[in-house]
């Protein structure tokens, strides 16, 4: 009889200890940012639940044994603490629905290789980085030019591409697409260095007018107005230079009367033809 009494007391004590130890919280089975996360708790009575994580610090009175529902928007690692016991759980990012698209540079010369760079970072609708591999499409189009398209798989939330600029100058539409979400950037493809720079001279009442042919790059794109074209006239008496600006595709300079002079033209580091004016050789 006494042995049974001792055994029963032991069992009651063990059960009490078991109940006391089991007053804790468990990690949720699967948590996705933006969806309510359910934390199972066990035990009985009231307790204070603390949850720490990205953008989160919660202190909440809970009833042990109930599931605690928390709206967790940020992906990352969380710690839930009840009565000094801690459990960690991860909240994963949701499906990608937002793109940060970096397209650089804002201007490129036409007809160059690998000059346009596009980088995409993938986020879900709560701005969490989506690190699971996701297909990304890049498109580059300029009016009248040849469109380019590439498919790239993202890695750790990033996808990037390098593309050539087209031969035709103009605003190029650079588009990154993930699922139904597209973001567009504009990259201005500009004329490259002048090509076949040529001048001709015409006498005027005060001296000489030197004018270029329409200034274009090697792909036939007009070099923009405002570009400097340096016209130099060298004669036995000295030298005259004018840093003319291209206006409506042509650069022009008025020079004083010249005898036995050589007139040359340059734009940047590109040289053009030379002409001889004023007689004498």
């Amino acid at each position: 009889m006494r042995i049974i009494q001792y055994a029963l007391m032991l069992a009651i004590c063990w059960f009490a200890a078991y109940v006391a130890r089991a007053a804790d919280v468990q990690a949720p089975s699967h948590a996705v940012a933006g969806n309510d996360v359910s934390l199972p708790t066990s035990g009985s009575g009231n307790a204070t639940l603390f949850v720490f994580g990205p953008g989160t610090a919660i202190k909440k009175e809970v009833r042990l044994g109930d599931h605690v529902t928390l709206p967790l928007k940020r992906a990352g690692r969380y710690s839930a603490i009840v009565n000094g016991e801690q459990v960690q759980f991860d909240v994963a990012a949701a499906a990608p629905s937002d793109i940060a698209f970096l397209a650089r540079p804002s201007r490129v010369p036409a007809d160059r290789k690998d000059v346009i760079a596009g980088t995409v970072f993938l986020f879900d609708n709560n701005h969490n980085l989506v690190t699971s591999p996701t297909p990304v499409k890049f498109d580059l189009m300029v009016e009248g030019g040849q469109p380019q398209s590439r498919h790239v798989q993202s890695k750790d939330g990033v996808a990037y591409i390098k593309l050539d600029s087209g031969r035709k100058a103009g605003p190029a539409q650079f588009v990154a697409t993930v699922g139904a979400k597209s973001v567009k950037r504009v990259v201005e493809e500009t004329a490259s260095d002048p090509c076949n720079l040529r001048i001709h001279a015409t006498p005027n009442k005060d001296g000489l007018t030197v004018e270029t042919d329409p200034v274009k790059d090697c792909a036939g794109n007009p070099v923009p107005d405002g570009t400097i074209v340096t016209i130099t006239a060298t004669s036995p008496k000295g030298r005259s230079t004018v840093d003319a600006r291209i206006k409506k595709g042509i650069a022009k300079a008025d020079l004083p009367p010249l005898q036995n002079a050589t007139v040359s033209v340059a734009a940047g580091v590109v040289m053009g033809n030379e002409i001889h004016v004023g007689g004498g050789m």
């Binding site: 603390f50 990205p54 953008g55 989160t56 610090a57 980085l129």
Partner: protein, 175 residues
């Protein structure tokens, strides 16, 4: 009195040196960050960029640790931007409202650059950090532990420094 002169001088030198050491130590009280850029691409990381990333990431963690410990969101603006800044500010605000704190003892970071954008304005890194974390409710320690955390980090070039734009804890990555 004359014989005490040299001893006084030595004592002064010791005090001055001690003070200097304390000050220097305080000034260099940034977490240790070990950065490896060998795996970064498509653009190779320049030496100056590598040094700047290492320094600015350490500063960011130092700011974050102060912010979460003292519930001060103002210290975050210099080192964080975008999503990461919003998250930390929300965390500090919620801690403030509930009287909670988080204390970190930072035992060092192993940081690996995995992506450097072609035009050089964004870097993605993986950070493995050894931390001691304490969660406090007022002065009461709720829980304390040593742990290893893994983060996916995106830093972007700012006015004169690199700022953390994304700091997202990740499951441990296979080597």
């Amino acid at each position: 009195m004359k014989r005490l002169g040299p001893y006084v001088l030595i004592a002064l030198v010791i005090v001055a040196c001690s003070w200097w050491i304390v000050v220097a130590q305080a000034a260099s009280d940034l977490p240790k960050v070990d950065l490896n850029v060998n795996a970064a691409g498509p653009r190779p990381v320049e030496d100056t960029t590598e040094q700047a990333l290492q320094r600015d990431y350490a500063r960011a963690w130092s700011s974050m640790e102060i912010a979460l410990s003292q519930n001060r969101a103002d210290v975050l603006d210099a080192d964080f931007v975008g999503v990461a800044l919003d998250e930390l500010k929300d965390r500090v605000n919620q801690q403030q409202q509930s009287g909670l704190h988080t204390r970190y003892v930072d035992h060092g970071h192993k940081l690996q650059a995995v992506f450097y954008s072609p035009e050089g304005s964004a870097v993605q890194l993986r950070d493995t950090v050894q931390l001691e974390v304490q969660y406090l409710d007022g002065d009461k320690v709720l829980h304390s532990e040593q742990r290893t955390e893994n983060y996916t980090v995106v830093m972007t070039a700012g006015e004169n420094r690199w700022k953390v734009r994304v700091l997202q804890a990740a499951a441990a990555q296979p080597e």
